[in-house]
Amino acid sequence: DTAVSQTPKYLVTQMGNDKSIKCEQNLGHDTMYWYKQDSKKFLKIMFSYNNKELIINETVPNRFSPKSPDKAHLNLHINSLELGDSAVYFCASSRGSPQETQYFGPGTRLLVL
């Protein structure tokens, strides 16, 4: 069983479109994250939710909106996609504190044309 899963794995879309990425974890963890990894492999946190409440909200354009319907799911919706949004987006989870061991999903490779 996959611990942290993301869909889709690949996403190719045109500039200006709106898209969503879904994430689910079956580890029973309370905290979930969205990270963006750029072409130089730099990993930057975007958001974190603990038990459906937003606890980390980095400087990210308003076009990015996370949503956590329950503590096992954290989705990411992106409006009006731009070329610079092209990256790999990783979902992760941890049992509690963000400083505990984090478990990562396989990533969603987003390419904006």
């Binding site: 980095e58 504190s97 963000p98 400083q99 990562f104």
Partner: protein, 111 residues
Amino acid sequence: SQQGEEDPQALSIQEGENATMNCSYKTSINNLQWYRQNSGRGLVHLILIRSNEREKHSGRLRVTLDTSKKSSSLLITASRAADTASYFCATGHGANSKLTFGKGITLSVRP
């Protein structure tokens, strides 16, 4: 920036050799973690060392932490081709704040 900085940026060794990777950080930490990322995959946690610990082992991995020098090293002994990956250190600072990742080290192990 509190971000950990790994060095070297890239390392190429022969199978069977040991690989040593270093991470330095600027402000005091609660813990430091090492992660591995294989090409096209998500990050996998390797080891966590707390600020009051000096050394930890896990299989062929050995991590040391020197808080006076604000640095950590990851040693992989008897490397294998399958160890080829990017390795990231991540530091936790303050109370319940985010984990901050370094830029990563690309390790290539030649068979």
